[in-house]
Amino acid sequence: MKSLKTVLLLLFVFSLCLPLVSAQDSFPLTDPATGARPYEGRELRIINTEVVPILAYEHEILDPAYEEASGVTLIYENMAHSDLLPRIQTTCAAGGDDFDIMFVEDGWAGALAALGCLEELDGLYLAAPGDSHPEDFTARAFGTVAMAKEKWVGIPTLVAVGMFAYRTDLFGDPDEQAAFQEAYGRELTVPQTWEELAEVGEFFTRPEDELWGFNYRYGTPNNILFDYMIHFGFSRGVDFFDADFNPLFGTEAAIDTANFFVGQDFLALQPPGRESYQFGEVLQNFTQGKVAMYGTESWAIPLLLDPEASVVAEHTAFAPIPGWRNPETGEIQSALLSAGPAYMINAHISDEQKQLAWDYLQLAHGKEFARLLADQRGAGHRVSVLTDPDLVAKWPHLTANFEAMKVGIGRPAEPWWPEAENAIGRALQEIAAGGDAASLMADANADIVEIVEDAGYYDEGIAYVSVVQREEFVCAKMAELGLDHDECM
């Protein structure tokens, strides 16, 4: 009797878990839609967030035009960025079809793809290539933002790479130049290395005038701190994993980087409150003219150049982010994190709906609209835009942006990566609070080994996908689709 009860209870529990394990049907290809307004009267549901003002532009210009032309009603579920992931994951895990198109950050795609709720775009593309042009992104950016391992799952909505902005009114001021020459015995130039930046930053740090040398993002959540630290790390040759999939955060270079990044010397160049600065605060400091130099992400550039949003819009220029002078070669190494969201199609919706979603995505983030967006707002993430002579003339930063995008390094697109990031971020926070960098970074490194092990990776022989491998994946994908990519020649 008792065992029967147990069996019944277990059956009950299993039945409750059923929605989680519902199998996914394969998706048959559809004919290209060519007729006039074939989607008349349909609805397209998009879960989105107002991350950056650039995306708002999409609503202002693109969406009304699309609705007008297609007869489709666009329904946005607009959420705070931090609220998006739980909502999407819940729907995804249960196999829900609450929305057709979703805004997915590169860090989330690995998990969602493994769950089988990201539609692979190959078939849709081959059936109706249209305006999407996947070859029109840099291989690095495309591999990071639009692919989950070897699968093409999204069209990038923006690509964020580290950028460096500075004030031309300060750097070009003869008095400042003379004063700098006197103090440091060299010419005042835009810094190329972090050491130079520290000097220039110190020079411009004048709290009594409400002016500081540099501003960078920190923030309390662990992962954010890591995001920025890794810019410094990359330039010193720190990588995520070695070829044998061993994490590399306990190395001497990583420890040096950590010490520099959260060290008091570096913090002293920045306005008070730096420990809690996130995107908003650093942006604001720069646009209010409080800092001479500013490390940012590419998507923020249009905001820096908008005279209504920035008092120094006229005096803002861009340069490659500083790097580390390799003592052996004398070469300046500069590498940055590349990240960003893409629009992806929910695999759990009907075929008709997928077709509709694809049709919209081609338009929303195809070549044409990207041009429009760049022309109007100076935002660019497609190669054709970043290299267009007319646009570059109008928006000089596009060139630097393009260069950064080509070398940007993506985070591991693994489901366990956020936890690893969290471990390093935590170590960095503790170093900032006065902890010993060497031991804390070593501990974090050990934690990551544990996290990866726990995920079953070493045992099951799944390897970390390196940046180089990602580019290979991108090239293979392009070949598969019959496309030529400039970087894959």
Partner: protein, 308 residues
């Protein structure tokens, strides 16, 4: 008296038997519907979570092997889980005691004044009427190192800008203070309302006998208010245990996990770290601990209050 046919045991009419039956089970008539809803909306998720916690279910894999209690084991051996459990304990101890002292104090004081009592009471309970997420954002704004009023004020006093929320030494305290700010009105309301029901006689006689205010408070007010105090403490403890919104908005658990609560950690485990089963196991553990604590508090409570 000779009983007529209708009174023979076998001769009861159906409607009478139905009446008799409904009389015997009449409490289900009242409790049943609510219980049914609660069973579906509460038992279901708990059973579901328990089920999930026994498998390895992640957001990142479609294979779901049965792993028994491994998730519980891993959770208990996880430093971050233990750290957030410690933080939660810190919140419970300081937020509960802080909001209790403040609320109790305000309730004691407001009984000593007459004019303006209503308006003061209304102002004092404003925080509880605000959404926790709003409270968190508002205090972020107050504490902002650039434009926050607090730093502006400190600046007037000649103290340079502080990043109270970004330093491991102060962040936890700040979050607790905000939590106290939001929740002391609950204690205030309960205690004040409880005081309104206190009998007058013991006070009057004590006053006449020249007993000091402190002794009156200790020997009369406290013992009489014991049940009310325990209720306030129970509610606050339970709420403090699941602190989530305020912390998520203010510090998101940082810096270095010093402000991470269990709720937040489990949320992160599930949605950021993609470990559904681990989070489910953690929630079950958390439920067990809270259940244990509340059961202990209940024992105190039941001693004082005859529950009919």
């Amino acid at each position: 008296m000779k009983p007529d046919v209708a009174t023979q045991p076998g001769g009861q009419s159906l409607s009478r038997r139905v009446y008799s039956l409904t009389q015997r089970h009449r409490h289900w008539f009242f409790i049943g519907p609510a219980l049914l809803i609660l069973l579906t909306v509460v038992i279901y998720p708990i059973v579901f979570s328990t089920g999930v916690s026994l498998f390895r279910v992640t957001f990142a894999s479609t294979s779901r092997p049965f792993v028994g209690l491994q998730n519980f084991e891993r959770m208990l051996g996880n430093d971050d889980f233990l750290q957030s459990a410690y933080n939660t304990l810190y919140y419970v101890v300081f937020s509960v005691s802080g909001s209790f002292l403040l609320g109790f104090g305000a309730a004691l004081l407001i009984r000593r004044i007459s004019r303006g009592r209503n308006i003061l009471r209304l102002v004092l309970i404003i925080p509880i009427t605000m959404a926790p997420i709003v409270v968190g954002l508002m205090w972020n704004w107050m504490l902002d190192p650039l434009f926050g009023l607090i730093n502006w004020f400190l600046g007037l006093l000649g103290i340079p800008g502080q990043t109270l929320l970004a330093q491991a030494s102060t962040a936890r305290l700040m979050v607790v203070l905000v939590d106290i700010w939001q929740w002391y009105p609950l204690v205030f309301l309960i205690i004040e309302a409880g005081m309104a029901t206190l009998p007058r006689a013991p006070y009057e006689s004590a006053r006449l006998e020249g007993v000091s205010s402190w002794m009156i408070f200790r020997r009369i007010t406290l013992p009489l208010l014991r049940p009310v105090i325990l209720v306030a403490l129970l509610l606050r403890t339970v709420d403090a245990f699941r602190t989530f919104d305020i912390v998520r908005v203010m510090t998101d658990g940082g810096p270095a996990l010093t402000t991470e609560t269990l709720s937040l950690y489990l949320y992160r485990t599930a949605f950021t770290f993609n470990k559904l089963s681990r989070a489910a196991a953690g929630s079950i553990l958390m439920l067990l601990v809270i259940g244990l604590i509340s059961a202990m508090m209940f024992r105190f409570l039941y001693k004082d209050i005859e529950v009919g």
